[in-house]
């Protein structure tokens, strides 16, 4: 991020003290350190509250690890993933970040019974989901982006066999075989990057925040006690639908608010149901999941979203998840465990 961009966003450079915002309580002694930059199709903010002597070093390490994961797992520019996708029937030497991401994606595929399946890349490409639609460099003029790539009535081939990628660690490094099918690691890749960044910031101060759009981790204290996290209104309203009080928690949101467009003559979004290969989550606008790990919070938020409004509560309670959801009509639902974190809701 350039100095001009930082100024435009009102975010200081890494190591610079963050200025207090209107309405906030005074930042405790020691202030905070913040670094903001763009990565993985999102604005990323790293914050250390009450920074210790190693805060600047931790911020730099956190940013480096995010860059490392993105470089390994992006599909929007040449990367080890794009190389593996280009020849999915061959073995490829890959960095540890990509091997870890595929292994975690494979575990997620099994845990969700196939609701989480990265083999939807061909669907996203056919619908024209490029970097701009994924939230790239401020090129998306509106939530709906007209593209015409897939004629109406044309159906993509269904995934009818289990996903069984192979990952091997040998003396010369990690190797990956995609078993013939290209993949998209967008969501879980970001979750893993946030996980690594949070580990880098742990202990750097009295508290820390890793915020990568829909994937957040809060550690320890916020600027005014517990971290106060708003849940964005997926309908685009200025006010959040919920305000949460969190500590030492990951928070992931799957929403179609910023990733909906028109492919051919059909409205689509990026949360593809791998079982139908169509836009999933009928009747839902967003799902938020709290949990100990950002990658798994991301996996569960997406899987719950695909359950749709009719089944989201049953799936959330069945998996004992701490989750909230917003229906297309604006109604907000949540599990009982989630209510303990809610300090304000828009219909109060």
């Amino acid at each position: 991020m350039t100095a001009a961009n930082r100024a435009a966003l009102g975010t200081p450079a890494a190591g610079a003290p963050a200025e207090p915002r209107a309405g906030d309580d005074p930042v405790p002694p020691g202030g905070s350190r913040t670094d903001a930059f763009r990565a993985m199709g999102s604005e990323v903010t790293l914050t250390v509250v009450g920074p210790g002597p190693a805060a600047d070093e931790a911020l730099a390490a956190a940013r480096a690890t995010i860059d490392q994961v993105e470089a390994a797992c992006t599909r929007f520019r040449p990367s080890p993933l794009t190389a593996a996708n280009a020849d999915p029937d061959a073995w490829h030497a890959v960095p540890a970040a990509l091997a870890t991401a595929v292994l975690e994606a494979r575990r997620s595929y099994e845990a969700t019974g196939g609701a989480f399946d990265p083999r939807v890349l061909d669907v996203l490409l056919a619908w024209g989901h490029d970097e701009a639609l994924a939230g790239g460099p401020a090129a998306v003029p509106a939530p709906v982006w007209p593209v015409t790539l897939l004629p109406s009535g044309v159906r993509l081939p269904a995934v009818d066999r289990p996903w069984q990628p192979r990952v091997r660690r040998r003396s010369d490094g990690w190797w990956l075989h995609l078993a013939g099918q290209p993949i998209d690691l967008g969501g879980i890749g970001k979750g893993l990057a946030v996980r690594a960044a949070a580990e880098a910031l742990r202990g750097a101060g009295r508290g820390a925040l890793v915020d990568a759009g829909g994937d957040i981790v809060v550690l320890g204290d916020g600027p005014a006690g517990d971290w106060r996290v708003g849940v964005e209104d997926p309908a685009g309203g200025d006010a959040p639908v919920l305000v949460l009080r969190l500590r030492d928690t990951a928070c992931a949101t799957s929403s179609v608010h910023r990733h909906s467009w028109v492919a051919g003559d059909r409205p689509v979004h990026h949360l593809v149901d791998p079982r139908t290969r169509r836009p999933g989550g009928e009747g839902l606008a967003a799902v938020t999941v709290l949990g100990p790990d950002p990658a798994w919070a991301e996996v569960w938020s997406k899987s719950l979203f695909l359950a749709g409004a009719a089944h989201v509560r049953r799936h959330a309670e069945g998996a004992d998840l701490c989750a909230a959801w917003v229906r297309r009509d604006g109604a907000v639902g949540m599990t009982e465990s989630f209510t303990e974190h809610v300090t304000w809701r828009n219909d109060d």
Partner: protein, 131 residues
């Protein structure tokens, strides 16, 4: 007494006798309904009541003078009732017009006294859509 007078008295004396004979014939026939009606009478269509609600008298029907008077009074009462209903409707409308501003004022007072939605508290960050 003249011959004409005696003839007139004889005619007058025959009138009750003729009426009595006629009445006796009718009574005799009324005592024998089965024989008088060999088949069931055809159903008679009942004329509908008029839209105005007035009494309906089928043409060709002769009413008892008392019944005719009652029907006439009924028509008068129905007309009076319609008049009263119209007056009541007019009074209700006037009352509504008078009360409307008062009702609006009451609603406005209720809105002023209702608690405003609590604004969102400040937040440290907002979770948006994951990629």
């Amino acid at each position: 007494m003249t011959t004409d007078s005696r003839r007139a008295l004889a005619v007058l004396a025959l009138v009750p006798m003729t009426a009595g004979a006629f009445a006796g014939t009718v009574a005799w026939a009324a005592d024998r309904p089965v024989q008088a009606a060999a088949t069931d009478p055809a159903p008679v269509a009942v004329p509908p009541a008029s839209a105005a609600g007035g009494s309906t008298v089928p043409s060709g029907t002769t009413l008892d003078p008392g019944a005719a008077a009652v029907a006439e009074q009924l028509d008068v009462l129905r007309a009076r009732l319609a008049t009263l209903q119209a007056e009541l409707a007019a009074q209700s409308e006037q009352a509504a017009q008078v009360q409307a501003p008062q009702a609006r004022a009451a609603t406005s007072r209720a809105q002023r006294t209702a608690p405003a939605p609590r604004p969102a508290p400040p937040v440290d960050t907002t979770t948006r859509a994951s990629g």
